[in-house]
Symmetry: C2
Subunit: 253 residues, 2 copies
Amino acid sequence: MNIVVIGSGNVASHLARALYMAKHRILQVCSRTIDNAQILANEVNADSIDEVQQINVQADLYILSIKDDALAEVVEQLPDVDGMVVHTAGSVSVNILSRFKNYGVFYPFQTFVKSAELQFDAIPILVEANTIANASLLMGLGNELSKRVLQASSDQRGALHISAVFACNFVNHMYRLGEDVLKESGLPFELLHPLIQETANKVLRMSPSVAQTGPAARNDQQIIQKHLNQLEGQKETQQIYRMLTDSILKYNK
Amino acid sequence: MNIVVIGSGNVASHLARALYMAKHRILQVCSRTIDNAQILANEVNADSIDEVQQINVQADLYILSIKDDALAEVVEQLPDVDGMVVHTAGSVSVNILSRFKNYGVFYPFQTFVKSAELQFDAIPILVEANTIANASLLMGLGNELSKRVLQASSDQRGALHISAVFACNFVNHMYRLGEDVLKESGLPFELLHPLIQETANKVLRMSPSVAQTGPAARNDQQIIQKHLNQLEGQKETQQIYRMLTDSILKYNK
């Protein structure tokens, strides 16, 4: 396929590279900052442009991989095209693209850091489109990149995004709060590394409901009270400790 | 060393096996439930007993690896011994053992499941003792089992335990809440597997403060509001979403 990539951030970069590796032709990379467009364009043998009005209207696929709140504006500026237009956002409905003839969503579900190497074939890709034929086309493209491609509605994609906020963003915040508690005691964060790995590995083998351990899971009130007392100097961390402990206790009733 | 293990739970089992593999002699395994004592005793070529009064008073080391709230009672029942008595608890002071001549703490810092294989040498071990000589002895023993052994006070161990509640128990609860959101939408938890792995792997390479992504880190109020609306039917999950989002926003200010 002949593809135009609009965006040059984390998702755009990983996706453009993966498609290029899968022998698709990236015609153009478009970014408001031409230098960013150029860097990615060089990697995937494409032209760089900095205005969506300059896109090649003959492409088969247009991938909009930009910030959620910039989508509506860019959609408006795009010329009319016959090729399929997709976005890559978790929490934006497919309908934002309804002015086009062929449109859909191509959502690779992972936390992306631009520079880090990723096994793209392990990343689930969620697909949605305005027609069955377009959905098949996106499924086919997804299967070239990943072993796990599925169709999902905009609502399902929204739910997946929320679950990701819990399983990734909030999890990372828990690491951070743990790091802070250690710092206060003069201990290095690295002490938590094996525990962090094992906690993640465990839920690849069993449901989190089975994997739960710790004072709240044991309803060990003595330790819970002790921990709350020790956190007296860090009020917000203490409040979070209390709320999540209560939540675990309720779940285990 | 000649060792008596009191307890037959997750930590006792892993520790007894690791010490046995390191060519120490496990004399006895003591558990209130003799069948449990027998199972572990068989594995490490030891005798099984079900009353602490029956322990061999000639051993070099007594490892108390039982529930935190049972410790005080068992300590009281133990005969006087010359060998060193240690417990393996994160949040219990070393002083609970002060009736003995030689005492300390030997705390392997990991989440244990009895049956799972663990790389014991990657697990940090925190050591504390009543004399410098006893601390050296425990450090030496720790170094036989693990590459990461350090001395830590009871306060530091308490802080480490709290940080573990965040980085393990609360993290697992985040996985669980994410699983629930997916279930509501008819999507399988397995979709989160690659994200969970990558989120954990990331903080082995960088600080969680650098690794943070997501709507709160970007201060994307539109998506935050959308997620809160979608969680309207799950009040408690919604409340946790709000609290942790606020906390990330504050940290990033």
